[in-house]
């Protein structure tokens, strides 16, 4: 079987989850992190369904955290990136770096 492939937005979500860590990576925080770092507007619905898709692919796993008052007493669903998710993100990122190499005049220094 081939390694799972991830699309560009999936890569952003995985990278955001890795940056936030297992205790803070959840839908709202991941959307905010991508918005903050990329400057693009992110629909939370997209993050929600992308997490679901990544979980179905086995690239991430989720667990419920503690109930929190600001969420109406409801828990966060915390995201952990699995080893296969890290490998998929690394492969996709490497492919992007590789394709951008030699196009420094357009992208600046890549890779």
């Amino acid at each position: 079987l081939r390694d799972p492939e991830i699309a560009e937005f999936e890569l952003l979500v995985v990278l955001a989850a890795l940056r936030l860590g297992g205790q803070e990576a959840y839908t709202v925080a991941i959307a905010a992190d991508i918005e903050e770092r990329t400057g693009r507007s992110v629909r939370r619905a997209n993050v929600f369904t992308t997490l679901q898709r990544l979980e179905n692919k086995g690239l991430i796993s989720t667990r419920l955290g503690e109930a929190r008052p600001e969420r109406g007493g409801r828990p966060r669903r915390l995201v952990t990136v699995e080893r296969s998710g890290v490998e998929a993100a690394r492969a996709t990122a490497a492919a992007i770096r590789s394709m951008a190499r030699g196009l420094d005049d357009l992208f600046g220094e890549a890779g």
Binding site: L1, R2, Y26, T27, V28, R43, R44, A45, N46, F48, T49, Q52, R53, E55, N56, G58, S61, T62, L64, R68, E70, R71, G72, R74, P75, R76, R77, E82, R83, S84
Partner: protein, 340 residues
């Protein structure tokens, strides 16, 4: 300040079971932040719009079949397996659409497949019936027939009456050895008149091989084979129904078989057709002492393989124990020609 109720309900309704709580929790968290930043009215409006957005995404995800429970790391899905064969669900979907779009082609393809399946099943059944027949009895694959074969011509030699006695004593790998022959006799009764029947003259052991109990009365016994024992007859179910009208008092009645009188002792159940499509069974009373081997009457010899003994092992055993002249040998094979 909670998110609008309908917005919560929408997300809860459309989210997969394991995402309902945290989905609504996300909505509440975002709503609190919006209300704090932009006020209640604008916050409620934006949260409602977001609920619609999330609900639409969830609905679309559900339609595309992606709302299945999450899989564990390393777990392989059906989609992965299809992908391994160079296929995807899209292939099936496109195929289905083509079938719907071209109903004529669908009908022709369905008929072709139905014909192919029927033809394949027919050929398979024909091959099985012709070359590997099985008997409709428990452990039928353990039932074998012993048969003499003329070494010079390769033809079966039915003169096995004397051999039967030798095999019965010598063979350890085949048990319940019995013999039978088929005769045509006239059944004569006062009510039904004369009727030609296909009758099996059998030893009790041969009749007992299928392990089938009679519908009425008893089967043939070893004592019935003794010289001088009263003549008895066992009826098939169709014969009992047709010639005797299904009379429940048929047991003990005397019938005439050619020149002798015989007492009905039993009726076999419907569908019983052992060793073939016989209508009556009478004891086999052929005494080998009355015949020289080369002119003895033909009989078929059947038996059941001993437990854990294969046909090949039985054949090897028989070769060691066989006493034969140079012209005749024998082989062991499965009995065929049995009607269900």
């Amino acid at each position: 300040m909670s998110a609008p109720r309908w917005a919560r309900a929408l997300v809860r309704f459309l989210a997969p079971p394991h995402r309902k709580d945290d989905g609504v929790g996300d909505l509440e968290e975002m709503h609190s932040a919006r209300v704090e930043k932009r006020g209640r009215l604008v916050g409620a409006l934006l949260t409602s719009l977001e609920a619609v957005d999330v609900g639409t995404a969830l609905l679309w995800s559900r339609i595309r079949g992606r709302s299945t429970p999450p899989r564990r790391p390393g777990e392989v899905s059906a989609g992965d397996v299809l992908q391994g064969f160079g296929l995807s669900w899209l292939d099936f979907k496109l195929g289905l659409r083509m079938l719907v779009k071209h109903p004529g082609l669908t009908v022709v393809a369905t008929l072709a497949i139905a014909f192919g399946v029927a033809l394949g099943a027919g050929v398979s059944e024909f091959y099985r019936d012709m070359f590997r027949p099985t008997l409709p009895f428990p452990d039928a694959d353990r039932i074998v027939e012993l048969q003499n074969v003329d070494r010079s011509s390769g033809d079966p030699d039915p003169r096995a009456l004397h051999d039967f006695l030798v095999w019965k004593e010598a063979l350890r790998t085949v048990r319940e050895l019995g013999a039978f022959r088929t005769v045509h006799e006239n059944l004569i009764t006062k009510e039904g008149g004369a009727r030609p029947t296909v009758t099996a003259e059998m030893t009790a052991a041969a009749l007992a091989i299928p392990s089938v109990s009679p519908a009425l009365g008893r089967v043939l016994s070893k004592a019935d084979e003794e010289p001088g024992a009263p003549d008895v007859v066992l009826l098939s179910y169709p014969l009992w129904q047709g010639h005797f009208g299904g009379d429940p008092d048929v047991l003990g009645r005397t019938v005439r078989l050619a020149a002798r009188q015989a007492t009905v002792v039993g009726v076999m159940p419907p569908g019983f057709a052992w060793p073939s499509n016989h209508e009556m069974w009478t004891p086999l009373r052929l005494d080998p002492l009355n015949y020289r081997p080369e002119v003895s009457p033909g009989v078929a010899v059947v038996g059941r393989l001993a437990p854990r003994v294969s046909v090949e092992e039985a054949q090897a055993d028989s070769k060691k124990r066989w006493i034969s002249d140079s012209e005749i040998t024998w082989q062991l094979h499965r009995h065929g020609g049995i009607l269900p």
